[in-house]
């Protein structure tokens, strides 16, 4: 233990370059801690701008900064505290093509302070590709976690399966809702999108599943008609008339149509259409809607408070008012774009922290709930359900960022072996606050880190898939890919032996672009070999149609082919559940060795090749991946002190 160390500043080399992804709750803390802990070269990337709801924890931002870029403001704020430090802000999406492999490779380590799965997965993959250590973090209320990902040595972000967001069948959302969430999803993902979002060609949404077998195709057809009729209305009406028009369409006419389908309501209570005129009179009686329907509701009064469940009349008022405001905002956007000579098709996206959006979704969801005899919800509750809000507090962020910098310091000072996973748990019956675990070894089933990443230089305009196949030909047996290959990109099938339509089309024409990952896999899935991930770098001056960087990387497994085959047979004979990894016959197994020989110029020439287990064994947990310390249910961390 380095008991004599006085400050971390003496430890971290001045040249250490770190990348911080995210300048939100954890990001702010992290930047502050980094500059005050001797990290002098920091880049921070965040695409967001500052919102009022950030100020309860993102302390580098103040009221006057609202709607400025987070990355820029944060970088300026921490830069002041250390004139020697250089903090570079990037107000951009980390997935943008300029942040390619070569860019990532400049950094000694990467720190993730992100709140969304998609970006985390992306950074994880980029770090695997470029062999950069990644300090990963997350919080939810009082709970937090910090861990370190090192390519080949530890679990990667995707080694543990992540829960997929819940989706609902399209008919539940559009025709037969039975819970408040169904109405909220309808208001947010269907109605709001149809009325105010930019008109995209496909209306697919995350929360509504694509039609499945359980959905009636005739009903789906009708729903499509319904949606296009709504779109039609939207283009015809003015901001003032849009509310009443849409109201009558979705809460009266569409419901009347649903009611004609008797068999749908044989065992369910029938929906009851709303009548605008009746409701309007009712609202007038209750003084909610005055002579001016589009006046803003008195949100500051108790009757309209966030926690209050609004009456039907209130919901009508809120619906008409927010519709007119949102429609005007849409118009303003379109106009601004037309004047700037840009594409006029712009729109709004649902933002849970945007008051008008939230009022609209609350009112529309509650009106729909009224139709289907479902409980209405307060604006506060709708916000949580519509926005997938995870509670976030200053203290947890402070703790997590502190833990991250400790891990970063271990990495920057050449002590990766000291890194560990730390969980912050809420104290319930046990007085314990933190749990530590040794970093787990990579999951042999992980489809993300167990594959081989290779950088491919190509000319996207002239190289074809056929060129790509030709370039891979010399290596494919070595890679265990066999004769018949399948090529995919982002889940799209581009080629397989029965689908060669794209074979002679330039890569750019089949949707392969700069900075994407193309997967090459054996047509017959082989438990011994993972697919190959080609990281695409495209340039127009590339002389060869396809060049694979450092082809010796691909050639390498040729040497292991024989031992590999024999080991495989042996393993199949024995099927020993303990054998989690099989070493090359001529080389002892390094317990924490890598599998994907890292690319981008940092290749490990002697890169040992670990084989994956046969599928039958995949269910057994490798013995060496057990955490040293398993949180148990007793107070074993408390030393009992006797009187």
């Amino acid at each position: 233990m380095p008991l004599t160390l006085a400050t971390t500043a003496e430890l971290v080399p001045d040249t250490t370059r770190v990348l911080v992804v995210g300048a939100g709750g954890i990001g702010c803390e992290l930047l502050k801690n980094l500059v005050l802990s001797g990290f002098l070269r920091i880049d921070v990337v965040d695409l967001d701008t500052i919102d009022l709801s950030n100020l309860n924890r993102q302390f580098l931002f103040q009221k006057q900064h609202i709607s400025q870029p987070k990355a820029t403001v944060a970088a300026q704020a921490v830069q002041r505290f250390n004139p020697q430090a250089s903090v570079v802000a990037h107000h951009a999406n980390i997935k943008d093509p300029q942040y390619d492999a070569a860019w990532f490779a400049q950094f000694d380590l990467v720190l993730n302070a992100l709140d969304n799965l998609d970006a985390r997965r992306h950074v994880n993959r980029m770090c695997l590709l470029t062999n950069r250590p990644l300090v990963e973090s997350g919080t939810a209320g009082y709970l937090g976690q910090v861990t370190v990902i090192r390519q080949g040595f530890t679990e990667c972000f995707d080694c543990q399966p992540k829960p997929t967001p819940k989706t609902f069948p399209i008919c539940t959302i559009r025709s037969t809702p039975s819970a408040p969430i169904h109405c909220i999803v309808w208001a947010k993902d269907y109605l709001f999108t149809q009325m105010f979002a930019a008109k995209a060609e496909d209306d697919d949404d995350d929360a509504i599943a694509a039609p499945s077998a359980s959905d009636d195709p005739a009903e789906i057809q009708l729903l499509h008609l319904e949606a296009s009729a709504l779109k039609q209305l939207q283009t015809l009406a003015s901001p003032e008339t849009l509310g009443p028009t849409v109201f009558t369409k979705v809460f009266t006419e569409d419901i009347a149509r649903l009611l004609t389908m008797d068999e749908m309501w044989a065992n369910k209570p029938k929906p009851e259409p709303l009548d605008l005129a009746t409701l309007y009179r009712q609202a007038l009686d209750q003084d909610y809607v005055d002579h001016a329907v589009l006046e803003p509701p008195a949100f500051h009064t108790p009757a309209w408070s966030d926690q209050q469940v609004w009456s039907v009349a209130q919901n009508l008022h809120a619906f008409l008012y927010s519709t007119s405001i949102l429609a005007r905002r849409c118009h303003a956007l379109t106009q601004a774009n037309t004047e700037a000579d840009l594409a006029p098709t712009v729109g709004l996206t649902f933002d849970k922290d945007d008051d008008d959006c939230l009022t609209f979704v609350t009112a529309a969801a509650n009106l729909r709930a009224q139709v289907f005899h479902i409980d209405a919800k307060s604006r506060f509750d709708v916000k949580a359900m519509a926005g997938n809000i995870i509670p976030a507090i200053a203290t947890t962020n402070a703790i997590v960022a502190g833990l991250m910098v400790i891990q970063a310091t271990h990495l920057a000072t050449g002590h990766p072996d000291r890194c560990q996973t730390t969980y912050l748990a809420k104290g319930t019956n046990r007085p314990r606050l933190f749990y530590n675990e040794q970093l787990a070894t990579p999951s042999t089933q992980c489809v993300v880190c167990q594959r081989r990443y290779v950088t491919m230089h190509t000319n996207l305009e002239c190289a074809t898939l056929r060129d790509l196949l030709t370039a891979l030909k010399p290596y494919r047996h070595a890679l265990g890919l066999g004769d018949d290959l399948v090529i995919e990109e982002g889940g799209r099938l581009l080629y397989d032996p029965d689908f060669d339509d794209n074979l002679d089309r330039p890569l750019a024409n089949v949707g392969i672009c700069q900075h994407t990952f193309v997967t090459v896999a054996a047509e017959e899935p082989d438990p011994w070999h993972w697919p190959l991930s080609l990281y695409i770098i495209g340039s127009t001056d590339q002389p060869m149609p396809v060049a694979i960087k450092e082809p010796e990387q691909l050639a390498m497994p040729l040497h292991v082919k024989q031992p590999l085959e024999s080991q495989k047979r042996k393993a199949e004979d024995q099927l020993s559940p303990d054998t989690t990894k099989i070493a090359r016959a001529d080389q002892p197994l390094v317990p924490t060795n890598g599998i994907s020989s890292a690319m981008a110029g940092t290749a490990d020439d002697s890169g040992p090749h670990t084989l994956t287990k046969p599928l039958e064994n995949l269910m057994t947990q490798p013995a060496d991946s057990h955490p040293v310390e398993i949180p148990s249910d007793n107070d074993d961390d408390t030393v009992t002190i006797l009187d």
Partner: protein, 514 residues
């Protein structure tokens, strides 16, 4: 609206009443150290009512690399004022004041001002000054949190004589009372025919009713048995599984899935019984000025006494269930009404007690009565120990190997820590080690005498680094301390009891109950 928006992400966690408690709290920080400033930052952001910083030092160049709330231009200015100014910039709703006085003797010189706060945070406090401060806070039942750091090491001690909570969030399961259904639930369950021929109706029987039904069927077969064993519950589970008519009957699936978990015996947890037995509850009428918590607790105890099944008030909420909307709403109303009945009875007890105690009827707000009823099963009291009694204790560890972080705990108990005038000599260290060994029981001190190096090197380290605050460690410790302060202020979640050692070298922590 502005405030709701600003605090939205935390309101999701501690709700409006937690926020109200936070906004009513006043925190006093003794010494504007880096760790102290971080603690306040984490409390000002969520909107604590107010803070006071007591500090008489000027901003020194050494503060610059450590404390984020002082800048180069402010070197030489009074630290209390500088830090207060910067912290107030973070949140205009928070009141902050700087008191330029010696923080170490503030408890003696300005006891009244100190006691006007709801909680005191003392940072990097020398032992000699800590004891009188701790004694004063203990006597006046004000929470004190001590946060000391030395280099990579940190130490936190929470001193609270009595901390009371309803919202511990420890028991998250629903209070369904399947083993002892209340009359309305019984009648409702009986109105279903589990053997009905209508397949739609069969598939819509709510799982609660199914569980009640099959439990009854099982009891008819085993008339003598009262308590259900795990095996019995498994048997009921398989009875349900056998009664499924087709794989689409999700209600049966749900009932089977939840059988083992929900067929538990409804009873008052021992923890709650212990609180009922405490003199503050039993002899409520003897106490001078009983806290609303104890009046509520006594009302709950009286409720249990009166209840035919000897149970706590019903929580009143039910989980989402596979059934038709109408049935679900009926079921929901059933539990809600029973819970309301119970609230009514508890309210009655509260007002009777208030009359007996000669207290005004608004002493216990109705919202608090509801909260107490809803969370009765989680009711909990933490009785702390004073720092004074800790000093006089003989410490022992039941572990054969003396743990690393226990030694760090000891190293933070030295008398010369933070007095820091004299250079640390081996004599000082030896003397301190000897003192510390005197606090330990025989076997532990013998072990440490045999291998003195681990302890003496740690003592040497803390003494040597008592004046070095590393920002990252200060930020970490500051986060933990603020988190505990929020738990104490909001009376939500269970706070640390009562000591935590933070080890910034290997990023471990260890808690101790001392």
């Amino acid at each position: 609206m502005d405030k709701t928006q600003r605090y939205d992400r935390q309101l999701r966690l501690w709700k409006a009443h937690g926020q109200a408690r936070l906004e009513a709290a006043r925190v006093c920080l003794l010494q504007a150290t880096a760790v102290g400033s971080e603690v306040l930052k984490n409390l000002v952001l969520p909107g604590v009512g107010g803070f006071t910083i007591v500090d008489d030092q000027a901003v020194a160049p050494s503060d610059l690399g450590q404390n984020f709330f002082v800048t180069t231009q402010e070197v030489g200015q009074l630290r209390a004022r500088v830090v207060t100014r910067h912290l107030k910039e973070l949140n205009e709703d928070v009141q902050g004041q700087a008191v330029v006085e010696d923080p170490f003797t503030f408890a003696q010189t300005n006891a009244e001002a100190l006691l006007a706060h709801s909680i005191v945070v003392a940072t990097n406090f020398p032992c000699a000054h800590l004891l009188p401060l701790a004694a004063l806070c203990w006597e006046h039942r004000i929470a004190l949190v001590v946060a000391n750091t030395a280099g990579f090491m940190g130490y936190i001690r929470v001193q609270v004589p009595e901390h009371t909570m309803f919202e511990t969030h420890s028991n998250q399961s629903h209070d369904l009372r399947l083993d002892c259904p209340f009359p309305a639930l019984h009648t409702f369950a009986d109105s279903f025919n589990v053997d009905c021929q209508d397949s739609m109706a069969h598939g819509n029987i709510p799982s609660i009713v199914l569980l009640l039904h099959f439990l009854k069927r099982w009891r008819d077969k085993h008339p003598t048995q009262t308590a259900l064993t795990y095996k019995d519950k498994k048997e009921i589970k398989s009875m349900i599984e056998q009664a499924v008519r087709n794989p689409n009957e999700e209600n049966f699936e749900e009932a089977a899935q939840n059988a083992v978990q929900t067929l538990h015996k409804t009873e008052t947890p021992d923890q709650v019984k212990r609180v009922f037995e405490h003199r503050s509850c039993k002899n409520l009428h003897a106490s001078l000025n009983p806290a609303p918590f104890w009046i509520l607790t006594r009302a709950l105890a009286d409720f249990v006494q009166e209840d035919p099944n000897g149970l706590l008030p019903l929580a009143g909420s039910i989980p989402d269930m596979k059934t038709d909307t109408q049935t679900f709403v009926q079921l929901q109303a059933l539990y809600f009404e029973k819970a309301e009945e119970d609230v009514c009875k508890v309210r009655h007890h509260v007002s009777r007690l208030l009359t007996e105690l000669d207290l005004p009827p608004n002493t216990v707000p109705d919202d608090d009565i509801r909260l107490a009823c809803k969370n009765a099963v989680n009711l909990r009291v933490q009785w702390g120990t004073s720092i004074a009694s800790e000093r006089n204790k003989t410490l022992a560890t039941d572990d054969l190997a003396v743990e690393d972080n226990f030694l760090w705990y000891l190293a933070f108990q030295t008398h010369t820590l933070y007095t820091g005038r004299d250079p640390v000599t081996s004599e000082t260290v030896e003397h301190e080690v000897e003192q510390l060994l005197g606090k330990l029981d025989n076997s532990t001190s013998q072990q440490l005498r045999a291998h003195p190096e681990p302890l003496s090197s740690r003592v040497h380290y803390t003494l040597n680094h008592g004046d070095t605050e590393l920002h990252n460690l200060a930020a970490w410790v500051g986060g933990v301390v603020a988190q505990e302060v929020v738990k104490l202020i909001t009376h939500q979640y269970v706070p640390l009891a009562n000591t935590l050692v933070v080890n910034g070298v290997d990023s471990t922590t260890q808690s101790f109950s001392l």
